[in-house]
Point group: C2
């Protein structure tokens, strides 16, 4: 999304359940050197995971960041979790970029969407 | 949270699975009259639901809003969903405040948290 700031913002739509969400909520440190490059690389990499459905991100300035990743099944999520480059990024996140975070991995049971007519 | 802007931002922590998340992603319209009052009222009301665990919210300026509500079980979520005042607010949301939204309701299977030492 950062590559297309002019594009309209569209949240990931509802998929047919079951599918998986990974809800990642973060508070970042003062030292964000290298973060945006790594984040852009992760956004690219995850797209190569078979079963990756999409990602939503919102960031309140100076506040909480929420990233939600959507995956077709547990295998897709496991593949992303075990990606070597992603694991290096996670480790650096704990060492440098994140003050706190929580990860909730959940199986979607129902979903729906609304678009203004 | 809006009542305590000076408080540190802390994401909802990991609970013992299973529990439920409701991931609500939104794009808002130009007409936001009445939104903040209703939103504040909903934030108060949901706290009275037995089994409500917490809520995270992030909003990119001019972009996507993500609200994640955490509930102990499906009954707690059902109670919130059927709350009469909440239903009126949902209806007004579709009529006035939201351009698009998606709701994903999911059962958490695993979770973990990190806090900088």
């Amino acid at each position: 999304m950062s590559e297309h700031p002019e594009a309209p913002v569209v949240p990931v739509g509802p998929y047919e359940p079951p599918y998986y969400v990974a809800v990642f909520t973060t508070v970042r440190t003062q030292d964000q050197s290298g973060y945006s490059e790594t984040n852009a690389r992760m956004e690219d990499l995850v797209k190569d995971v078979p079963g990756f459905l999409g990602m939503d991100h919102a960031q309140t300035p100076g506040g909480l960041g929420i990233t939600v990743g959507y995956f077709r099944d547990a295998d897709a999520l496991a593949q992303w979790r075990s990606n070597a480059e992603h694991q290096v990024a996670q480790k650096r996140g704990r060492a440098q970029w994140y003050e706190r975070y929580t990860l909730h991995v959940a199986k979607v049971e129902r979903s729906h969407g609304f678009t203004r007519a």
